[in-house]
């Protein structure tokens, strides 16, 4: 097992709600914290809540020009200002100025990003990769201390792919994905779950800053391997629905020859892969545009080395 790691304590932490303007739990939470930041306060660091995409929030849509949560790449962040740029490109550069710049020493230490999904995912903790030590330890802490429902970990970065999400502006980040919740709807149960998990995560940072040593551990996590598209007609319209046997079965094993789609005439389409995979984001509303029915993942076990803040000699 690798030797223990030391990282600098965190001083600037941001929490973002409304990266997508119709995912309401985070929007209501961020608005509440902007009015009353008391519950975010901890003694060893500052927490800044903010609304990710104000114009999309006002219109209660996912985005106005393009998906903000795909715009934090070098291509968009370093492009020069031009006329008629999508709103989200301009916004991404402003966010990068305020909470970044991405990759620099001035960037915020940590950013939380709050999301909802129409898929039956329960509570998902989304980290870019298992190599992000601090977020992995934070997830482990959350899993042990927030026990009302399981909080599986989803590693979203494909190998070789550049990070593109809003929290990649900070030095480290964690996204929460809670569902199922329809777009534009606030469910009280998910709202309070999200709130409690953030509280738990902030407690972790406080303990970390104050010198707690977090021992090494083994942890299960799901790593994305690809996406499964809907079958479509020649004109691009989807020709089948997620099969009732797959609907709501996020994170349960999908085996070769299990049904995945059902056509409107009642025929079944089976999974043709060779190995068992774990599907997520099954029937997510926002993915219809890209014709993605679900995301494919593999289950892995990772060994994570011990961690403490570098204050401890």
């Amino acid at each position: 097992m690798a030797a223990s790691c030391h990282l600098k304590p965190l001083s600037c932490v941001a929490v973002c709600g409304g990266t997508h303007g119709n995912e309401m739990s985070g929007i209501y939470l961020a608005k509440h914290w902007l009015r009353d930041p008391m519950e975010l306060q901890r003694s060893s660091f500052a927490v800044t809540p903010f609304l990710g995409n104000p114009r999309a929030i006002e219109k209660c849509v996912r985005y106005v020009g393009q998906d903000l949560n795909r715009t934090f790449t070098t291509e968009f962040l370093s492009s020069t200002e031009v006329e008629d740029e999508p709103y989200e490109v301009v916004l991404a550069r402003e966010i990068n100025q305020t909470y970044g710049p991405k990759g620099s020493a001035q960037a915020f230490d940590f950013m939380f990003d709050l999301h909802n999904t129409t898929a039956s995912m329960g509570t998902y903790l989304i980290v870019d990769s298992e190599e992000s030590l601090l977020p992995m330890h934070m997830c482990h802490y959350i899993q042990m201390h927030y026990t009302r429902s399981p909080c599986p970990i989803y590693l979203y970065k494909l190998p070789g792919e550049e990070t593109y999400s809003i929290n990649s502006v900070a030095k480290a980040g964690l996204a929460l994905e809670l569902g199922p919740q329809p777009q534009q709807v606030v469910r009280a149960d998910l709202f309070s779950q999200m709130r409690d998990i953030i509280a738990c995560a902030l407690d972790f940072i406080e303990l970390f800053n104050k010198g707690t040593v977090f021992p090494a551990f083994e942890i299960e996590a799901y790593k994305i391997t690809g996406r499964m598209d809907y079958p479509c007609y020649p004109d691009g319209e989807i020709s089948a629905m997620v099969h009732p046997k797959l609907q709501d079965k996020d994170f349960l094993p999908l085996n070769p020859r299990d049904p995945i789609f059902q056509t409107f005439s009642g025929e079944e389409i089976l999974y043709e892969g060779n190995t068992t995979i774990y599907p997520a984001f099954i029937n997510e509303a926002a993915y219809y545009k890209k014709k993605v029915a679900f995301v494919k993942m593999e289950k892995h076990t990772f060994s994570i080395p011990a961690l403490s803040s570098s204050r401890v000699a």
């Binding site: 329809p182 469910r187 629905m241 409107f264």
Partner: protein
């Protein structure tokens, strides 16, 4: 507003008609039952509260007996009895023993995409446009139709305004100018093809397919409590789907009723299936909607073939009032639907039950005199319409016997 809720159950024996009433009145009143000669058959005085009473009326030798039922408020204050005329008509219908002959139903339309992000109807209609075998029945024409194609293309509820609110005479008669909202122009086109509304040329029957984010199951929406044909159809569908529940929602109300797309037909039928998020297509929800349509079309076919449907009584939920979210002085929502109310559409809500939860964890409770049955609880599209949920009351509705006039 004082009001009376009346539910009436009749049981016809050989020589007599047993009539049972249950009602609630917020003021004292007198119920009087008279025959055609205006002789008093029965009189009852009652005070505020919930009352039940029954009487047996002797039928005369001919097959028909018409009764006139009047309700007179005894309090000094003039009350307006919202359902007064309706209950009078209802009783008149019920105590008549003959069967109504209705015109056969030949022209049927199935509308999908009235709201472009309610996908079950969109995909069913598109599928039926490619392959309509499943919706064909002999003796009638069934036409599947996408009502708001631009909204469907963008997968949004509407472009300029809600299509399902603009089929009123003002909008239907409005002059077409450049800046007319897309949906008003579209409404006029639809009225031209499937109407005109209130004319003899209008389609006989329109099924309008919708989804909701609320946990309403497969709900049938009734616009008119006097439409015997539709009530009989709903009775048929409910029996066909039993033991699965199929609530019937009556939107007839002086202020709250809205001018729907389907209202251009002689028999408008709303089909509202949930819960399903906007922009999502669930196989189980689509299947439920499909079954409702199948049974509805079967009913029309059987009716056209000459079957007589005896008088029937169904339990329905009648719209009473909309309830908005608590808001601050800036109009922002300050509390969300309480977890105890979330997903509890059609379940009884009593005085003192929690309905909202503030961000600070405070519970706001329902305050009301009677049990209500909430619906459209936490419907996404209704945040902008200032509707957290809708209160309904359970009422029994009776339809006359019907038979096709051509048989």
């Amino acid at each position: 507003m004082d009001y009376i809720i009346v539910s009436i159950l009749t049981q016809k024996n050989e020589n007599s008609l047993n009539v049972s009433f249950s009602f609630m009145t917020t003021s004292s009143l007198e119920l009087v039952l008279r025959n055609q000669e205006l002789n008093i058959l029965w009189k009852l005085t009652c005070f505020k509260g919930i009352k039940e009473a029954s009487t047996a009326l002797v039928l005369n030798s001919c097959l028909e007996m018409h009764c006139i039922f009047s309700i007179k408020a005894l309090s000094l204050r003039q009350t307006s009895c919202m359902l007064n005329e309706q209950s009078l008509n209802q009783l008149n219908r019920m105590t008549s023993c003959y069967v109504v002959h209705e015109a056969p139903v030949r022209r049927v339309a199935i509308f999908g995409g009235t709201h472009g992000n309610e996908l079950s109807g969109v995909f069913l209609v598109k599928h039926w446009q490619e392959n309509g075998d499943e919706i064909q029945r002999t003796g009638l024409e069934v036409r599947p139709f996408i009502t708001n194609p631009r909204a469907v293309k963008k997968c949004t509820r509407y472009i300029d305004c809600d299509l399902n609110r603009v089929f009123d005479p003002d909008n239907l008669g409005r002059q077409i100018t450049e800046d007319i909202p897309y949906e008003v122009r579209r409404a006029q086109e639809i009225n031209h093809v499937f109407g005109p509304k209130n004319s003899n040329d209008a389609y006989d029957l329109i099924f309008d397919l919708h989804n909701t984010t609320s946990n309403m199951g497969g709900t049938l929406i009734l616009e008119n409590s006097r439409n015997n044909f539709t009530i009989q159809m709903f009775n048929y569908i409910k029996n066909a789907l039993a033991p699965e529940c199929c609530p019937v929602f009556l939107i007839e109300h002086p202020n709250l009723k809205y001018a729907t797309t389907r209202s251009i037909a002689k028999h408008p039928v709303g089909v509202e299936v949930g819960p399903q998020p906007q922009g999502v297509l669930r196989a189980d929800i689509l299947d439920k909607m499909r079954k409702i349509i199948k049974h509805g079309l079967d009913f029309v076919h059987i009716f056209n073939e000459g079957k007589e449907f005896p008088p029937c009584t169904i339990e329905i939920y009648k719209i009473m009032e909309k309830v908005d979210y608590p808001r601050n002085k800036n109009g922002e929502i300050t509390a969300v639907i309480h977890p105890s109310l979330q997903d509890q559409d059609w379940q009884p809500l009593n005085n003192g039950d929690p309905i909202f939860l503030t961000v600070d964890g405070e519970t706001i409770n329902y305050e009301g005199d009677c049990t209500v049955y909430p619906t459209f609880v936490n419907e996404a599209a209704y945040y902008e319409k200032k509707q957290a949920f809708v209160k309904t009351v359970k009422v029994k509705l009776t339809a006359k016997g019907i038979r096709s006039s051509l048989s």
